[in-house]
């Protein structure tokens, strides 16, 4: 059993390394991605600065608590780079080169997960550096939880969230096997996810009913809840959150398996 698992593990490890190394080719991309994280922080800083001139507390946040939330959520949303997966699959199927992935001696979905892992590992240090720079540049009194359990739960949730987003983008990508034009849908999804993950504003600002509704969706746990946990809030939601996210990952994996099984026969390898 162990001897069978080892080569499997090595294949994925190689895919991670390969994609990690591939990022080195696009060095200026790394720097610009890092620099452009400022737009999210700047938006938060300018908007909340003017609001907090009239109020000391908004939805339980102080000015620095709010900016700490944005620093963490922007760091996490920057790490989530699986958007490209659906686009890549979409174009590959449309121009008939998806075969390149199908002939690899590795599970196609597993390859994309390994690819995302390589990219995330590469960007991790740079995004962290960017976050530290913005904390000092905007003189934020950074609020961060002291509880190791909360940090552990948030880290686990982030990992599951990243996995879920890869699964989601993979699923949307393979829909191209049946539906020719999904590009518009992908762009709409991007806009909606920005709202649902709490990247634009913390979901705590929304009415309670809406927050409750959103907490049934997986996006709530991708960026919003980990950011809240790391700023020392919503501790009671940590464990249920992890369980909800596990449920969504398993459910989506089931949907992917069914979809892949029925749609892959439609791929003829000559493009659309």
């Amino acid at each position: 059993m162990r001897t069978r698992l080892l080569p499997e593990y090595r294949k994925y490890r190689e895919a991670v390394y390969m994609n990690l190394k591939a990022q080195l080719v696009w060095r200026s991309d790394v720097i610009f991605n890092m620099l452009f994280t400022i737009s999210k922080i700047l938006f938060a800083y300018l908007l909340w600065r003017i609001i907090f001139q009239q109020k000391d507390m908004v939805a339980g946040f102080t000015f620095h608590g709010m900016l700490s939330y944005y620093i963490i959520s922007s760091f996490l949303s920057q790490l989530e780079m699986s958007d490209g997966i659906s686009g890549e699959i979409f174009w590959r199927i449309r121009n008939g080169t998806f075969t390149n992935y199908m002939v690899l001696p590795i599970n196609t979905e597993g390859y994309f997960i390994a690819m995302e892992a390589g990219v995330v590992l590469f960007y991790l240090a740079f995004d962290f550096l960017a976050a530290v720079i913005w904390i000092f540049l905007f003189r934020i009194r950074f609020v961060f939880t002291q509880e190791p359990l909360m940090i552990f739960c948030a880290a686990l949730m982030v990992l599951l969230g990243l996995l879920f987003m890869v699964q989601l983008n993979y699923y949307l990508g393979i829909l191209t096997l049946k539906y020719q034009e999904i590009n518009t849908f992908l762009m709409i999804k991007k806009n909606l996810i920005l709202l649902a993950t709490g990247t634009i504003v913390p979901l705590a600002l929304f009415p309670e009913k809406i927050v409750k509704l959103m907490s049934r969706l997986p996006f709530y746990y991708v960026t919003y809840l980990p950011s809240m946990l790391l700023t020392g809030r919503c501790g009671e939601e940590a464990v249920p959150g992890i369980l909800t996210l596990i449920f969504w990952c398993v459910f989506l994996q089931f949907v992917i398996a069914v979809t892949w099984k029925s749609y892959r026969k439609k791929y003829d390898g000559v493009g659309i």
Partner: protein
């Protein structure tokens, strides 16, 4: 003069006819831009609704002003989507591949043709949606604008549309001199993303200089709103017009100089 405008109108009519024929081939994607930008502005409305359920004002602006701001930005964006966005988007590619030759040899101003050749009627619903948002904003502001005020507002919307157009052309004209303008487009996206969510009143110090003078997206929906809520002062109006005039002059200069610089072989 009359013959010239007649010719321009004829060319425009032909460009629209050809474009509509093309669009009919890809009917599914017809309303794509409307759906994408529509959700973007709908999300923004929800975000500010959430913020205003916790605060009364953002600076001096109440919810009505903010809705009007979102609607105005959406209108400027929607009109550009209908008229020129998809045409101007292709400038870098046409320069790189040497396809600009086709435009330079035609007896029509090349920038005019590029501007109008990819009109997108699929975004017209976005214009209607923007007008509804504007109407709702004015309703929340509890004002009944007179004809003069509406004209004043429309004047500023048109001026800011010109500025928006200038910025689009200017950023794409960089390809006359450099191999790629990808970073500038990234900067444009980031600045637009920021300024369509944040009114100009929030900028101060160095940020005001950057987003009102260097990348003047911060002015675009702010000035029309200020003319509606009475915050517009003559100095501000003068500055808005001067900035638009400077950017229009700069755009024409860069375009003309770029065309001279263009060596047709592609790069």
């Amino acid at each position: 003069m009359r013959r010239r405008s007649k010719k321009i109108f004829r060319v425009l009519r032909e460009l629209i006819r050809i474009r509509l024929q093309n669009l009919m081939m890809f009917r599914l994607g017809f309303f794509g831009p409307f759906l994408v930008d529509g959700t973007l502005f709908a999300v923004q409305l929800m975000v500010f609704r959430a913020i205003y359920s916790n605060v009364d004002r953002i600076g001096t602006w109440k919810e009505g002003e903010m809705i009007l701001f979102i609607g105005t930005f959406s209108l400027i964006n929607a009109v550009s989507m209908v008229v020129c966005f998809f045409g101007l988007q292709q400038i870098p590619e046409k320069i790189k591949k040497g396809e600009l030759d086709l435009y330079l040899t035609k007896p029509v101003n090349p920038l005019f043709r590029i501007t109008f050749e990819k009109m997108n009627p699929g975004s017209i619903p976005l214009v209607i949606m923007s007008l509804c948002i504007i109407g709702y904003g004015i309703y929340l502001m509890e004002i009944t604008p007179g004809a003069g005020q509406v004209l004043h507002y429309l004047f500023w919307v048109v001026v800011m549309m010109v500025l928006y157009y200038d910025m689009m052309v200017l950023i794409r004209c960089v390809c006359f001199y450099l191999v790629t303008n990808a970073r500038l487009e990234q900067l444009e996206d980031a600045a637009l993303d920021l300024c369509m969510k944040l009114p100009g009143i929030a900028f101060y110090g160095i940020w005001r200089i950057i987003f009102c003078l260097i990348l003047p997206y911060g002015l675009m929906a702010t000035l029309p709103v200020q003319c509606m809520n009475g915050e517009m002062k003559w100095q501000r109006a003068l500055a808005g017009i001067a900035i638009t005039a400077v950017f229009t002059g700069l755009t024409l200069f860069v375009w003309k100089n770029g065309v001279k610089h263009y060596n047709s072989a592609g790069s």
